[in-house]
């Protein structure tokens, strides 16, 4: 293993200085975040304050958010209706997504303790779909095994996770991405891409060179970069 190259702070700082990036570029990254994450009001204000042309119809942000909120509070039926109002093709052409929504609906029945409804829904709606695909079937089985535990907290994590808010967020995220896709809008938040690129690049470079690292202090009172 060759000796690591050492890049001193001054040298690194001057490299940072040379990176071509403008406020306008960063504004667009921020706008992308606001739009995709559904901060409609903020996106509107930002479009004004930063003089950025809107990349999407702001109303579509709103309807996406209503759908997301419906899923996050467990109202799957409402979400499905709204998605179909927005564009019926989204669910028609995306069997996996539709299955995911129905699975979520089943989870909500179970969460609410409506065992009879859950069973009926699973047998009538989900079982036929489980026959279509082994993946669907496996997911259906996983969901049904929630019923095997009187208290979900006793279930193994892989099963109990279905009742977690993260599962709702995951479903909501998939629906969000599908809607964005149907609007020909990017669905990955670019800032997330930036963070991933940073993690990837920094850890790879760590193996080859010594250089000043960057840390975001999220849980200190003030954010600092060191």
């Amino acid at each position: 293993m060759p000796a690591k190259a050492v890049i001193r702070k001054e040298e690194w700082d001057s490299r940072l200085h040379e990176v071509p990036i403008s406020k306008e570029d960063l504004n667009r990254l921020v706008m992308d975040y606001l739009v995709i994450e559904g901060f409609k009001g903020a996106a509107e204000e930002f479009s004004q304050e930063a003089n950025l042309a809107p990349t999407v119809d702001f109303e579509s942000i709103e309807s996406r958010m209503i759908i997301r909120q419906a899923l996050q509070r467990g109202d799957v039926e409402d979400a499905i209706t709204r998605v179909n109002d927005l564009n019926p093709e989204i669910l028609d052409t995306n069997a996996a997504l539709y299955f995911r929504l129905q699975q979520q609906k089943l989870i909500e029945y179970i969460r609410a303790g409506r065992i009879a409804d859950a069973l009926q829904f699973a047998q009538e709606e989900l079982a036929p779909r489980g026959e279509e695909s082994p993946e669907f079937l496996a997911e259906l089985e996983r969901t049904m095994s929630l019923l095997a535990f009187e208290n979900a907290t006793n279930a193994p994590p892989a099963i109990a996770d279905l009742l977690s808010p993260a599962q709702r967020m995951k479903t909501a995220g998939e629906v969000n991405a599908a809607i964005l896709d149907s609007l020909s809008q990017g669905k990955e938040v670019k800032l997330v891409g930036l963070l991933k690129l940073l993690c990837w690049g920094e850890s790879l470079l760590e193996e080859k060179a010594e250089f000043p690292k960057v840390h975001i202090h999220v849980d200190s009172r003030k954010k600092t970069l060191s």
Binding site: Y33, E37, V189, E202, L204, H217, V218, K223
Partner: protein, 748 residues
């Protein structure tokens, strides 16, 4: 406004007019180049082949060119002391930052030059192949044969490395792509040469090279016993991401004894690629793949006369692939060139056989562009599958590489992103957006909390906002700060000083009142400018036949701020006006040294058709109702002088060079009879751009006093990421070529 979308209507710190931008670009970017290019020249020994001027080479060399090299037996068998000077040139380039470990650097033996065959090639030139456009570092990849690194003007001064001129507060850091420089980040190693021809020196003596450096022929009469191979002059830069070349085979056989592949710098040239340890080859006679072995592995079809065989390497996976007559044959080999320089290499074994190579001289048979696009997408997806780890996102969790990096959940990363975005918005004073963003957060937090009863999951506790500010504080803070900053931009230094004194007293006092000193200097400049404008107006009035009859508008403008402090939120509208003026400033680009941009007064938007100095004069004089008496002018001038004297008095004991320099510059403006028409450094010093820079500096000082970074964290992250990738590219990490930050995140 519409014509310049970059002119943001309502930011508190309006952009400096464009001449600053061009100054920044003229200064900072080339100077780094100058440093790099000079060092690479210094480390590049002269090259035999490259010293031939391209234009005249064919006529000159054709007279004396022997196609066959002098046969030097034995020398190729010891390549370690028989390396072409061009290789060391390549090494020198890359090693420019001491950041290029690991690759063996062959030494040029002093005696080898004397023995070099007297072959001078007259190679064809060709443009960089289109598939290489997919590389992040495309602009650093060069196929030109006698490529000379462009020297920048050596007299260009070094850029001031103060952060105030480099961050997004200051639009002068606009990416250079708009002006002249390439869109890729400048590499520490400036230029990567692509292979362009077979090496005259690094080949078996059984092989002859055509004059254009593309054909290799196994010389007749040497028997069929020995393998004979050659490699290219330059190694393949991993910064290519994917590299590809094609070979046309001419043989008496349809299953030719030919090997096509890659070789490291130290292989023996009496062996075919694949037989040696640091070589990889695909053989035509049996269709097998070889890597450091005599017996190959089954790979694909045989090939021979008339076939076009392509050979490629993906540096993001270090796997090779081949094509035959435009068809993909599959990936092969592992870890190709992962720790050595890699040269395209071909070996022949039968006399009379020959090959002709295409390094991009003409269109490839195989659709390499499409292939690279796929490789790039795959590489990008691999990168995007990287989990976010905590040592970057959290303090305390040790960043040492010994500890495993814990992944961050989606919720945690959302908290980080919200915080990054919020701090960015706050930094630049987008106060309405901040307010709206916070409102969203509250809603989200409430709805999240509602469903999280059954799990210990509390978004409210993790809220990025609550922990840092209370809303009222935050809004007041932004508004106060933006008011101060826009006051400086408008030239209302008194308001800026008094507000800063009131709300951020430590800012003025820090570093022995350095900031206050700078503001007061600017105040003096404003006073002098004002008096100069009055003088101008007087002269204009003298020229007019009919002087106006209304009484002189008396205002002690020279000592009292003529612009009333803006009411809360007012600066949005005023910034709009700034924007209009900024637009006008677009036409300043041709005459950058004039005081042109409006001071923000809503009713003094000057016509763009007037010369800038007249605009500025009018603007100043408009404050005096268009008519100025001599007495007024003199009063203003003497008030200015009095102010200056007290300023100079207050700081006469300050020995800091920065202070002394600023005093000199500040009082230096008095030397000019007509300040509004002056050019050069003085014009720059009194310009509105200087005001904007001062405003930006004050903004950062205030942020700093609050314990916040002078550059938004988001921007630092971007810069840091870009620098990491650039450095990885310089260190030969192939995947970096497919981690195109700007294209993926900004241009997409």
């Amino acid at each position: 406004m519409a014509s310049r979308p970059s002119r943001v209507s309502s930011i508190p710190i309006p952009m400096p007019p464009s001449n600053t931008r061009s100054i920044e670009n003229a200064i900072s970017i080339p100077s780094s180049r100058t440093r790099i290019s000079s060092s690479s020249f210094a480390t590049s020994p002269p090259s035999l082949t490259r010293s031939v001027p391209r234009s005249s080479s064919s006529s000159r060399t054709s007279v004396r060119l022997p196609y066959e090299p002098r046969v030097i037996r034995g020398a190729p068998a010891q390549p370690s002391e028989y390396c072409p000077p061009t290789l060391s040139a390549g090494q020198g380039r890359r090693a420019s930052t001491s950041g290029y470990p690991g690759r063996p650097t062959p030494r040029v033996s002093s005696s080898s030059h004397a023995d070099q065959p007297a072959v001078v090639l007259a190679p064809e030139t060709f443009a960089r192949p289109a598939y290489l456009d997919h590389s992040t570092f495309r602009d650093a990849l060069h196929s030109e044969l006698s490529f000379a690194i462009p020297r920048k003007d050596a007299s260009t001064p070094a850029p001031a490395m103060t952060p105030s001129t480099t961050d997004s507060d200051d639009e002068s850091s606009t990416p250079p792509r708009r002006v002249q420089a390439p869109s890729t980040p400048s590499l520490p190693a400036n230029v990567f040469n692509l292979p362009t021809k077979w090496s005259v020196t690094d080949r078996s003596t059984h092989l002859t090279i055509s004059q254009d450096g593309r054909d290799l022929t196994y010389a007749i009469g040497n028997g069929d016993k020995d393998g004979a191979s050659a490699r290219t002059d330059d190694p393949v830069p991993p910064a290519c991401g994917t590299y590809y070349y094609e070979v046309e085979v001419r043989s008496k056989d349809t299953k030719a004894h030919v090997s096509i592949g890659f070789a490291g710098p130290r292989v023996k040239f009496n062996r075919l690629p694949g037989w040696e340890s640091a070589s990889w080859g695909y053989h035509g006679d049996d269709g097998n793949s070889f890597h450091s072995q005599r017996e190959g592995n089954t790979y694909s079809q045989t090939y021979g006369n008339g076939d076009i065989v392509g050979c490629g390497i993906d540096f993001s996976t270090h796997r090779a692939f081949y094509t035959k007559n435009g068809h993909f044959l599959g990936n092969v080999f592992e870890r190709v060139g992962s720790d050595i320089d890699l040269f395209p290499s071909v070996g022949l074994q039968h006399s009379g056989d020959s090959i002709r190579v295409n390094f991009g001289h003409e269109a490839f048979k195989f659709d390499i562009e499409n292939h690279v696009q796929q490789q790039k997408t795959a590489a990008w997806n691999r990168i995007m599958a990287t989990p976010l780890y905590t040592s970057i996102l959290k303090p305390g969790t040790s960043a040492s590489s010994a500890t495993p990096k814990a992944a961050v959940s989606e919720e945690e990363s959302k908290v980080v992103l919200n915080k990054l975005v919020l701090s960015y918005l706050i930094h630049h004073g987008y106060s309405k957006t901040v307010r709206a963003f916070q409102k969203h957060q509250d809603v989200v937090i409430r709805s999240k909390s509602a469903v999280s009863d059954d799990k210990d999951f509390d978004m409210a506790a993790a809220s990025p906002i609550k922990e840092s500010f209370t809303e009222d504080n935050l809004e007041d803070d932004i508004e106060r700060r933006t008011r101060i900053v826009s006051a400086v931009v408008k030239g209302d230094i008194d308001l800026a000083i008094s507000d800063t004194e009131k709300y951020h007293p430590t800012v003025l006092k820090a570093e022995a009142s350095l900031m206050l000193f700078k503001l007061r200097c600017r105040k003096f400049v404003e006073l002098i400018l004002e008096s100069a404008a009055m003088k101008k107006e007087m002269e204009l009035a003298k020229d007019r036949d009919t002087p106006r009859t209304e009484p002189p508008f008396v205002t002690p403008a020279a000592v009292v701020p003529s612009i009333p402090p803006s009411t809360d939120g007012d600066w949005f509208e005023e910034s709009m006006d700034m924007d209009v003026d900024d637009d006008g400033a677009g036409h300043n680009e041709s005459m950058p040294n004039t005081l042109a941009v409006g001071s923000g007064d809503t009713d003094t938007i000057p016509s763009r058709l007037e010369p800038d100095s007249v605009r500025a004069g009018k603007q100043k004089a408009d404050g005096f109702g268009g008519l100025v008496s001599t007495a007024q002018y003199e009063a203003a001038l003497s008030a200015a002088i009095v102010y200056g004297q007290s300023l100079s008095d207050d700081y006469k004991g300050d020995t800091r060079s920065e202070v002394k320099q600023l005093v000199k510059q500040t009082f230096g403006i008095l030397a000019w009879e007509d300040l509004l028409r002056v050019g050069g450094e003085t014009a720059e010093f009194v310009s509105v751009e200087a005001r904007v820079r001062l405003a930006s500096e004050l903004n950062q000082a205030i942020l700093k006093s609050q314990g916040r970074p002078a550059r938004p964290a988001l921007e630092t992250l971007y810069r840091h990421t870009s620098a990491c990738i650039t450095q990885l590219g310089a260190l030969g990490e192939g995947a970096a070529a497919f981690a195109d930050l700007r294209r993926e995140l900004l241009d997409a």
